[in-house]
Amino acid sequence: MTAPLVDIRNLHVALPDGADRPYAVEDLSMTLNAGEIVCVVGESGSGKSLTARAMMGLLPEPRVRASAGQIIFGGRDLLQLPKHERRLLCGEQLSMIFQEPMTALNPLMTVGRQIEEVLIVHTSLSAAERMERVLALLAEVHLPDPPRIAASYPHQLSGGQRQRAMIAMALIMDPKVLVADEPTTALDVTTQAQILKLIRELQHLHGTGVMFITHDFGVVAEVADRILVMQHGKVVETGTADQILNRPEAPYTRALIRAIPSLTPRSRTPIEGVPILKVEDLDKTYRQSGLLAKGREVHAAKDVSFTLKRGETIGIVGESGSGKSTVARMIVRLLQPDGGRIDLHGIDLAPLSKRQLKPHRRRVQMVFQDPYASLNPRRKIGEIICEGPVANGVPKSKAMARARELLGLVGLKPEVAERFPHEFSGGQRQRIGLARALAMDPEVLVADEPVSALDVSVQAQVLELLAEIRDRLGLSVVFITHDLRVAAQVCDTIVVMSKGEVVEHGTLAEVFADPKHAYTRELLASIPGKDWQIPELAEAGAV
């Protein structure tokens, strides 16, 4: 066997003094061969991204630096190379693509120009030759109408197009190594499937060695040849894709894989409750109007109808821009619908004024997506939870007692009521968000992507908690998600939305087993790792 393309030996990445641990990456060794995809998997804080940055020489030095170890590439240790030689390797031999293609591209420069820059630095081609190469590569990453794309600014492209342009930029010098840092995390699931396919296709064609950083085992199952699992900066397990995915040894890997929501719909007894919330023909149009200019119209929701029974969980699934969040916000009446009915126990909430709505506000509560942005950082947890009830006339002391009780219910200690949001992790904050919603004694809970910002193991815990509380309190839940795996685990009924319209509506089992609409089929086919049967792992006592 030939020498590996990249050989990382005992890499240490040191964090500045006063960080929560001395090393972000500790004693990491791995190899990357030509033509293979090695996935580095881990949850947030595992050090996977810094490993990628160290490889590219992009660590935020001098605060964070590779303090020991070697990265051997082409017979030389990258960590010992002089700065300018290291720089010239970047973009030519080693390339990188990033998670968020919107911020990773300069907003003021055309896409073509940004790709061309790589050629300006690394080649002596003429302007015409450079343009030719750029257009050829844009075609190779399957972008339609390359001249138009090249002349576009990043904001004029869709997320998938931007990521394709990023890939073109990374591959234009035909590098030997591609480092991909969560390249599909910010994308919709159907776009993600296309980008993964593209990366595999180009990697195969050019024999590139790919280091693929991700947190998503579904994605891993799609692309990986070999896998490296990281936790707290250390490698916990490494092996071939088959070994790690199907016969994981390390307790941490086993725990991670066990936390992945299965695609097999969980069997629940059918809900026979009375309808509690009837949504009929809900409409919302966003207009951009000008004095003389013609306004643009976007139908965020069009004729959306569904019925929620008592104790039922209905999932609204769709990609970004499908209107699912708009619907959620209209049900909670954070948005005023343009038309339609929101019938809660015979009262139509849609046309009510703010004042008329007030006595009903309590009954429909929302849990938000971003656990960091949705809690006021200047207020104590107890105050945040009490605010709703107090505004509705509950005495402060009574509300506070209830808040402590609720904190216990969501698995936190009652004492945390005296602390501020920044002291909590994402998962804990989402529990606080749930307690806040429950403080109003709602009948319907609207959860807008409540777990999509969380790591997979935390996600599993929060979903479990949500299901438990729903059953205990007899809540009905409207669950907004883009993740069909999550939907498969929590929902009874599913509403599939696309471009503001409901394209399919049925019980979870029906929709998953026999999707009627083409879009639903595409959505299901795009789930990363759908062919990977998650192994039944016994819960190891040592975890």
């Binding site: 992009l58 010239l88 390797l89 990188m96 300069n106 790589v118 951009q288 004095l291």
Partner: protein, 325 residues
């Protein structure tokens, strides 16, 4: 292109009600101030009988109720008649237009100086972060930011005009020399140095600080990491990527501040005897020459609206994400 013309046209239409509101507010505010032209004239004459005062007021139309005066004034302005300045014995329009030139010279020079050097100094400070260069620039910026305008003006006169004799103390040109052509341009430029420096110093400091902060903020953005991953040199990253992004807030700020620049020029024009609108406003305020004052205010408002329009158009050229709507 047609979109841009439609945009400009629309902005002109929108400007009409704004200007009308400004005229009315200015008129009413000035009416609230005690004293009128008759008081000043009578005061200067040394003595005046009440009959003479009444006669003066009737002559200037000051004896009618305020709403009538307002209606008459607005009516005249709509016909582009800004009235007559009794103090200068000239039509307001002509007087104001005469003084516009010097003010524009001073303003444009000041803006170019402040923005140009502010960007340069901010760039130098940010690229040499925490070095002596950055420290010197930051301290100088802080000092000029904190020093009052009129004091800077007076000190510059003391040092450079009186002690060193390098620059004239006041005025816009050496009238007695009857320069023409390039000699006149040079003469005006010579007179311009001190007032322009005085007026620009404060804004220069502001833009330096803003540019430095903006450069540092942009240097931490993701696209800079992308640029590094492409193998670009730091120099290229700074000039091709960071600089242009960092300019945007500076341009926004400069656009907003042109209006306050007109206010600042009142002090500087008075200190340096610069025959511009600011000085005229100052004089007419003390002479209670309200017609003239309102004419100046009106012109200032027009100037601000035009500058805002120019900044908005400039912004679309700098930032492709902004569309003219």
């Amino acid at each position: 292109m047609s979109g841009r013309i439609a945009f400009i046209l629309r902005r002109f239409l929108q400007a009409i009600p704004i200007l009308l509101a400004i005229i009315i507010i200015n008129f009413l505010l000035l009416k609230l101030a005690p004293g009128d032209a008759a008081d000043v004239l009578a005061g200067e004459a040394g003595s005046a009988t009440p009959e003479y005062m009444a006669e003066l007021r009737a002559k200037f139309g000051l004896d009618k109720p305020v709403p009538v005066q307002l209606a008459q004034y607005v009516g005249r302005v709509l016909m582009l008649d800004f009235g007559y300045s009794f103090r200068h014995d000239m039509p307001v329009a002509q007087l104001v237009i005469d003084r516009l030139g010097p003010t524009l010279i001073l303003m444009v020079t000041t803006i170019l100086l402040a923005v140009g050097f502010g960007i340069l100094l901010g760039l130098l400070a940010a690229t040499g972060l925490n070095t002596w260069r950055d420290n010197v620039i930051s301290i100088l910026a802080l000092v000029s930011y904190a020093t009052p305008l009129f004091w800077v003006g007076l000190m510059l006169i003391v040092v450079f005009s009186i002690n060193l004799g390098w620059f004239p103390t006041s005025g816009m040109e050496t009238i007695a020399a009857f320069h023409t052509g390039w000699a006149r341009v040079l003469d005006i430029a010579h007179h311009l140095v001190l007032p322009a420096i005085t007026l620009s110093l404060f804004y220069l400091a502001l833009y330096t600080r803003l540019m430095r902060a903006s450069m540092l903020e942009q240097a931490g953005m993701d696209y800079v990491i992308t640029a590094r991953a492409k193998g670009l040199s730091e120099r290229r990253i700074t000039f091709r990527h960071v600089l242009r992004n960092a300019l945007l807030p500076v341009v926004t700020m400069a656009g907003v501040q042109v209006s306050s620049l007109i206010g600042g020029s009142v002090i500087v024009e008075t200190v340096f005897g610069w025959p511009g609108l600011g000085q005229l406003a100052f004089e007419s305020l003390f002479a209670r020459d309200l017609n003239l004052l309102m004419g100046i205010f009106f012109l200032s408002a027009v100037l601000v609206l035009i500058v805002n329009l120019i900044v908005d158009i400039l912004y679309t050229l700098l930032d492709p994400r902004i569309e003219l709507k």
